[in-house]
């Protein structure tokens, strides 16, 4: 909807501007010299896009339509509508090209700010694209015969100039005015002067053109009147000859055919425009026969009164009271002889002569076709002849008519030829053409008609009592000859000036707008920078202050002002502000100020000052500078480093107090920090090692090694942030003792400097403990070996010997001896077993034990298989729940569960079949595997005792065993990182819970 409205708007705008342009057209062959519409539609297409094409085209077609219709409605009826519509195409194509080119080079929204913008715009839209419309349009007009080939150059040129000026003057202004991105002010600045100039030019133009037209038209009128007069007199001369024929009939009562012919003998040669002269007497009805007889006799041929049929053929005359048949005829060869024809029978003739028979002499009508069907512009004159004797009677009836046939063209041709050379075209409008204008015109009047192709001067012209219309028009040559080119040049110049003015205004205002934009942008930037600077100044923790040579504070930031009590801060600027310092400090600070003013700057200096009751340490630097007026000022930058110093002290004290030795070693290998722990470890005082190579702290043999020395390991971390694992190295005490240490180093980078930080620990004690452990393990190993072999052998021999004696020498022993020997045997066997148990216990985990992923279910099944005979013997029932997989040694696990299983079977109620349940549950990071039975149970008070080696709760007579099973179980569980315990809460038997890590 919006788009349709826009299209309609553009179309209407073009139509209006087109009509305005038409008013500026010059006669007759020149197109309008200024065609603002071309600029308007170009701007519309450029800004609005190609979707406005329909509106542009409709406007263009409408302007052409109205131009043609306004000039000549008849022309409209003769021109097919298609041709008129075709005339809308050239302006549309031209505007489209202009819009496209400008978009191509300047983009869719040019602001026409620079010379380049305006230049490219003007050239693309103006001289270049304006070639299109005149070329196409002139070609079309020529093809339709609306302009002659002669006038093509002038038409083309004026059309081109008109379009170009229209585009140059209007397009930039329209583009600027309708561009929303351009400020109203600039629009007004450009448009207002331009509109004023434009109107001045247009007014001048109208005045000039009116003047020129007036002059030209006046000339045309004068010339036309002269032509009309010439024509009139030429005709009068011809008519006078005919009138003289009437005298012949007045002179005698009867004129014979020969007399008539004799009288007219020379008329055709003297006056070639006369084609025929006829005598038509009045014959009343009663005399017809007598007349016909007399005429036949006089003319020597058969004579009969006839009248003309519709096709021109001769018919017997109808019955009338009177006839005017042609009797004598003298005529040129080309004219059809019409002897006997009664002209009054022709309705037109009757109408012409019957109206007023008495009034005028001459009656005429354009009836050449009667005589000469092939020729136009023939005029017939009827000259009545009266009976002189009856002249005084009222209602006099002529006794006959002298009829003259003229060819006006013969007369006209001469005059037209003469005037065509002077540039005036003469045309006689008759019939329909004349009828379009004649009714509006009075007799002997004239009118100017103007259309796009020029002005016509129309003048009524009377021949006898017939009114004709003479049309005078100016030939291109006439106009060219009379065009006031100076005026047109001035006009074109004025438009060009308007264009230049518009370009100038656009560039100037554009430059202004661009400058304004830059200024406002820079102002904003400055404002931003100032704001930024202020925010920075007020938020940096450092103090910033500016002083003059009188030590007065000129400016200071928030951090600086905090030196002063809050209520005093607003008064600091303008005075020295030194009163917060002690007299000594004041002197010192002033000295520094002076140094800065004389030398240009100071080095960073440290000062301690108490203010507002707090001790502060400041690092300050002062720098001299000049302000814009050349005065010397001093910028002070001070940083409160109290916290940093405190923190550093803290850090140093922590560093010194660290239990581990901590050294900082430069990249060169020189020690720079050596803490207290280091002093203790190495026996050196800090002062003795700082600045020395780190090799001082190790045995020489190690220091000589290519790798594996202190320096090697300290510098091992190649990159900042890297660190090494601890390495074991030999170190040398100040007293020469060699001892083992751990050393770990890391590479530290602070700012541009990097160094190594080494942590050392004396591991002599650990190493000794390790060695002790290893030795004790070895001793245990040796003991176990001895026990296995050497300790057991005598016992075995004791047992075997007692056994042998009891078997083979029983006869030699009395009962007491047998009993004692039995005790020997039994005790030695028992001791033997105890040693075995002890060995078994000590061997848990002593050898290399392979750990793997094992299934406890499998373990328990293997155990059941191992103790099958005991299960069968006791009738035990075993219930195995779902058991997990764990990481462990299968043989040890089998031993653990076998011990528990055997206990469960062993410590049963007499005559009660054992029921054993093995189950597992997850508890946190552990699997809790429990083995529960329905046996005799264990008193909770023994819950710890039962896991001790050789601890038994029952006499050997009741339940055999060495009392080491559960101790082994505990050792195995602990070896696996778990534990075993007695579930005190369990009643109805005993329940052991083994906790194993769930991994």
């Amino acid at each position: 909807m919006n788009l349709i409205a826009k299209n309609l708007f553009v179309g209407t705008l073009y139509y209006v501007f087109g009509r305005l342009g038409l008013m500026l057209s010059a006669d007759p062959v020149m197109a309008t010299l200024f065609w603002p519409g071309a600029g308007v539609i170009m701007a519309a297409l450029y800004l609005g896009g190609y979707r406005l094409l329909p509106g542009v085209y409709i406007g263009a077609a409408a302007v052409n339509f109205s131009a043609v219709y306004g000039s000549d409605p008849v022309l409209l009826s003769e021109l097919p509508i298609v041709r008129i519509l075709l005339m809308g195409v050239p302006p549309t194509l031209q505007a489209l090209t202009g819009a496209y080119l400008v978009r191509r080079f300047l983009g869719p929204q040019t602001r026409l700010e620079t010379l380049r913008d305006v230049g490219i715009f003007s050239v693309c839209a103006g001289p270049v694209s304006c070639l299109i419309s005149p070329t196409l349009a002139v070609f079309i007009l020529y093809a339709y015969g609306l302009i002659s080939p002669v006038s093509i150059p002038l038409s083309w040129t004026t059309w081109y100039v008109g379009d170009m000026l229209g585009v140059l003057v209007f397009a930039p202004v329209c583009v600027m005015v309708f561009n929303k991105a351009i400020s109203i002010r600039r629009k007004v600045h450009v448009a207002a002067p331009l509109v004023s100039i434009f109107f001045l030019v247009i007014c001048a133009f109208f005045y000039a053109i009116k003047h020129e037209n007036d002059v030209r038209i006046e000339q045309l009128r004068t010339d036309s009147d002269l032509i009309a007069l010439t024509l009139q007199s030429a005709l009068d001369e011809s008519f006078a000859q005919l009138t003289s024929v009437r005298g012949l009939f007045y002179a005698s009562d009867y004129v014979s055919a020969s007399e008539f012919g004799l009288f007219l003998k020379h008329v055709f040669t003297e006056n070639p425009s006369v084609r025929g002269v006829y005598w038509a007497p009045r014959i009343v009805r009663e005399d017809v026969r007598a007349f016909e007889a007399r005429a036949s006799k006089e003319l020597g041929q058969s004579y009969k009164i006839l009248e003309m049929g519709a096709g021109g053929e001769g018919l017997d005359a109808a019955d009338r009271p009177a006839y005017f048949p042609i009797f004598f005829a003298e005529q040129s060869a080309a004219v059809k002889p019409l002897i006997g024809y009664d002209f009054v029978a022709i309705p037109d003739v009757r109408r012409a002569i019957e109206g007023d028979m008495t009034g005028r002499d001459l009656r005429s009508f354009e009836a050449g076709s009667i005589f000469m069907p092939q020729e136009e512009n023939h005029l017939v004159l009827f000259i009545p002849v009266f009976d002189m004797a009856k002249v005084d009677e009222l209602n006099l009836v002529p006794k006959g008519f002298v009829i003259g046939l003229f060819n006006i063209e013969d007369i006209l041709g001469e005059i037209r030829g003469a005037w065509a050379e002077k540039g005036i075209n003469l045309a006689v409008l008759t019939g329909d053409r004349a009828a379009a204008f004649l009714p509006q015109m009075a007799n002997d009047s004239s009118v100017f008609r103007k259309d796009r192709f020029g002005t016509k001067y129309l003048k009524t012209f009377s021949i006898a009592d017939e009114r004709w219309l003479l049309s005078f028009s100016l030939s291109p040559a006439y106009v060219e000859g009379r065009v006031n080119w100076g005026m047109w040049y001035v006009l074109a110049g004025s438009f060009l000036f308007t264009f230049l003015a518009s370009g100038f205004l656009l560039i100037v205002t554009g430059h202004g707008a661009a400058t304004e934009a830059i200024v406002s942008e820079k102002t904003l930037q400055l404002k931003d920078q100032t704001n930024f600077l202020k925010v920075v100044m007020d938020n940096v923790p450092d103090m910033l202050f500016v002083k003059n040579e009188q030590h007065e504070i000129v400016a200071a930031n928030t951090a600086f002002l905090k030196l002063y009590p809050p209520e005093d801060r607003i008064n600091v600027v303008g005075r020295t502000g030194l009163e917060v310092f002690t007299p000594e400090e004041q002197v010192f600070y002033k000295q520094q100020d002076n140094l800065a003013f004389s030398k240009g700057y100071t080095e960073v200096f440290e000062s301690n000052t108490d203010y507002l009751g707090v001790s502060r340490t400041l690092f300050t630097r002062k720098i001299r500078f000049q302000d814009s007026e050349g005065r010397f000022l001093m910028l002070g930058l001070a940083r409160d480093v109290s916290e940093i110093l405190t923190a550093r002290e803290h850090l140093e004290s922590i560093l010194m107090a660290t239990a581990d030795g901590l050294m900082v070693i430069e990249e060169s290998g020189v020690i720079s920090t050596f803490n207290k722990a280091c002093e203790q470890i190495f026996g050196f005082e800090r002062e003795e090692v700082i600045g020395k190579s780190v090799s001082l702290l190790e045995p020489e043999s190690q220091a000589m090694e290519e790798q594996g020395n202190f320096l090697y390991y300290v510098t091992l971390p190649g990159k900042a942030g890297q660190s090494t694992k601890r390495h074991e190295l030999w170190a040398r005490h100040r007293n020469g003792t060699i001892f083992p240490i751990y050393l770990a180093a890391s590479h530290v980078k602070v700012g541009a400097t990097s160094f190594y930080c080494a942590i050392v620990r004396d591991i002599s004690v650990e190493k000794k403990a390790q060695e002790d452990l290893r030795r004790s393990n070895q001793e245990l190993e040796d003991f176990a070996y001895v026990a296995s072999h050497d300790l057991k052998a005598p016992l075995r021999h004791l047992s075997l010997s007692a056994n042998f004696l009891l078997r083979n020498y029983t006869d030699l022993l009395d009962d007491k001896g047998k009993e004692l020997l039995g005790i020997v045997r039994k005790s030695s066997e028992r001791m033997f077993e105890m040693i075995d148990s002890l060995l078994a216990y000590s061997s848990v985990g002593r050898q290399d034990v392979e750990m793997s992923r094992i299934s406890l279910e499998e373990v328990v099944r293997d155990v059941i298989e191992g103790v099958r005979s005991q299960i069968e013997r006791s009738g035990a029932e075993i219930d195995i729940g779902s058991l997990p997989n764990i990481s462990g040694n299968k043989a040890l696990m089998i031993q653990l569960f076998q011990n528990l299983m055997e206990n469960a079977i062993k410590y049963r109620h007499k005559d009660v079949a054992p029921k054993i349940k093995v189950s597992a549950a997850r508890e946190g990071k552990f699997w809790k595997v429990s083995v529960a039975d329905n046996g005799i149970g264990i008193d909770p008070q023994y819950k710890e005792k039962i896991f001790k080696i050789f601890q038994r709760l029952h006499g050997e007579s009741e339940y055999d065993g060495t009392g080491i099973g559960l101790a082994i179980c505990q050792r195995i569980a602990e070896f696996h990182g778990g534990s075993i315990s007695l579930d005190e809460t369990y009643s109805g038997g005993s329940r052991f819970v083994i906790a194993l890590p769930a991994v």
Binding site: S788, H789, D790, A793, R796, S799, L800, N803, R807, Q847
Partner: protein, 145 residues
């Protein structure tokens, strides 16, 4: 009934008591045997190599070897035998007072044919010897026998 060949047994055992009970138990065997006892590892090697006083020593069909012996211990002897091409085909049965796992593993690693522990009572001892007898002397076929 063919005359049964006697089995030559080398028993390397430093303990007289153990040797006594072993021979006692072996004496009950159905298979005729001759036990040649040496008291340490060196003697065992000399016996096998027919050195010194053992010049006339027979090549034993089977060797019973104690581990814990003076001079060369059982392992040393075992290694000697198994390294000697002329001797390595003789089965060596380790008899040890130790039931330590490491001893057992070590013996088999050195190609012992069996590892048996010395028993602390006579019944077990004769059971063991009977078992050895019935398997090694009666059921198993030994080289050269």
């Amino acid at each position: 009934m063919a005359i049964q060949q006697s089995i030559d047994i080398l028993l390397a055992e430093d303990e007289d008591t153990d040797a006594f009970f072993f021979e006692q138990a072996l004496g009950a065997s159905a298979v005729p045997n001759a036990v040649h006892r040496v008291k340490d590892g060196q003697q065992a090697v000399d016996f096998l190599r027919r050195k010194g006083e053992h010049r006339q020593a027979p090549r034993p069909h089977i060797i019973f070897l104690d581990i814990n012996m003076p001079r060369l211990d059982g392992y040393d002897v075992l290694r000697e035998i198994k390294a000697d091409e002329g001797l390595r085909d003789i089965p060596v049965i380790i008899i040890s007072g130790s039931s330590d796992e490491s001893d057992i593993v070590k013996s088999y690693r050195n190609y012992a044919a069996a590892y048996v522990t010395k028993s602390k009572n006579l019944e077990d001892m004769s059971d063991l010897v009977k078992a050895v007898d019935s398997f090694w002397f009666q059921q198993a076929r030994l080289p050269g026998f």
